[in-house]
Symmetry: C2
Subunit: 240 residues, 2 copies
């Protein structure tokens, strides 16, 4: 039996070019949506409903939901949560359902909905995710959220880390140049993520917003074993 | 005075996101359009008119122009030239004007037309181009042609080679993650382009079409000192 494939797509707008009926899509937005989502589940959130627009988030909020909205790195006025992982660590989310919209990540999750299974990936849950994907032995597309449709380094190196392990440890196949590129970038970065990313445009943007603490947290691999997955319109914690 | 910038855009459809009024756009399609164009000028062609569609090329042909058309790696029926460099080495192009359309490269050239100066880049003319760009000391965007709007390795590593030299030798600035990614990929590849590219999807496609000889030729750096540039609607040889 032939091995399943692992491929990488750098930005949401290219999803249709790279989506080839893979059984699993892993959505990655390291800085910071998917990192925050993993953290929220670590702190006991029950469900997260990803929506694409601030208006949708506000409509849910008016119905009484807890809601988060981030645009351009900052919490939108009138919302409780943004996409800082720390905003979910205050003991205020246990058992709750949260509606969330972010600049890049939640849009990517909604684009990925055509796939049979959509998972949330970050550096925070890297090893747990890789182990799960190897066990499933199904075709995987890593969808990087990017930054406003531009390529970004941190999502690409997370995707490259996943691809490298699936290829080298479990013999997954690949054919896209983007997958080879992501693995090369991961290998270049793996000596020191933080140093590598210091020139990165998104990291600079967050530093300017005094969010350096978030960046340091989100770039730490394997702080979480949470694998959030999309169940209908809501993210829930995968029991694996 | 602040240094000019060098940035890299991976595919033509992202051009508007990365074009920030750079003074020079370098269009790159290593396999094979821009390599063939450099070679055509080496063999004495006078002008090359890049057009986006086969229909446009045919209309010129009906007016008596020499014309080339390539789609999916093969010469379109009824045309004299494709984008094999070897098709321009037969002593048949000296002093001629050739109309050319290719799957990716000529479209990228036409997209880049908004810039004050559009240059043609390839591995074949790498050092000549780098020396020229450093001498100009103007802002540069490298536009990779990609493959049908997908990222490709060979264009990215050519762009990465240019960016690395402009940054390290001439202190050019950069801010896009795509530029850092391209330099990383070039550094990963520079030990051995050919080995690096052996898994590349486009290279595999060309091998399947028995065009291995073209690939070997196009991946050789510095076989040419031609720098083709866009003068109105036609590419001509830059006198530098």
């Amino acid at each position: 039996m032939s091995k399943p494939s692992i491929e990488v797509c750098f930005t949401p707008s290219k999803f249709d070019l790279y989506y080839d009926n893979q059984e699993i899509v892993v959505v990655i937005d390291v800085l910071r949506a998917t990192s925050a989502i993993c953290t929220a589940f670590d702190y006991g959130v029950s469900k997260i409903i990803p929506v694409s627009t601030v208006e949708e988030a506000r409509a849910y909020q008016e119905k009484g939901f807890l809601a988060g909205a981030e645009r351009d790195g900052q919490i939108v006025e009138g919302f409780e949560f943004g996409n800082s992982p720390f905003s979910y660590m205050k003991g205020n989310v246990k058992g709750e359902t949260i509606v969330l919209t972010t600049t890049n990540g939640t849009k990517a999750i909604n684009i990925a909905k055509v796939a049979p299974q959509v998972l949330v990936g970050a550096l925070l849950n890297l090893d747990a995710l890789i182990a799960y994907l190897i066990k499933q032995n199904k075709s995987v597309l890593c969808l990087c959220s990017g930054w406003k449709e531009k390529f970004n380094l941190e999502d690409t190196l997370c995707a490259g880390a996943i691809a490298k392990e699936l290829v080298e440890k479990a013999g997954f196949a690949f054919s896209e140049d983007s997958t080879i590129g992501a693995v090369s970038i991961f290998e270049a970065a793996s000596l020191n993520n933080f140093r590598f990313l210091k020139a990165s445009s998104h990291r600079r943007r967050l530093r300017n917003l005094n969010l350096n603490k978030d960046v340091i947290y989100c770039l730490q691999p394997n702080q979480s074993v949470a694998i959030p997955y999309l169940n209908g319109d809501a993210l829930e914690l995968l029991a694996y």
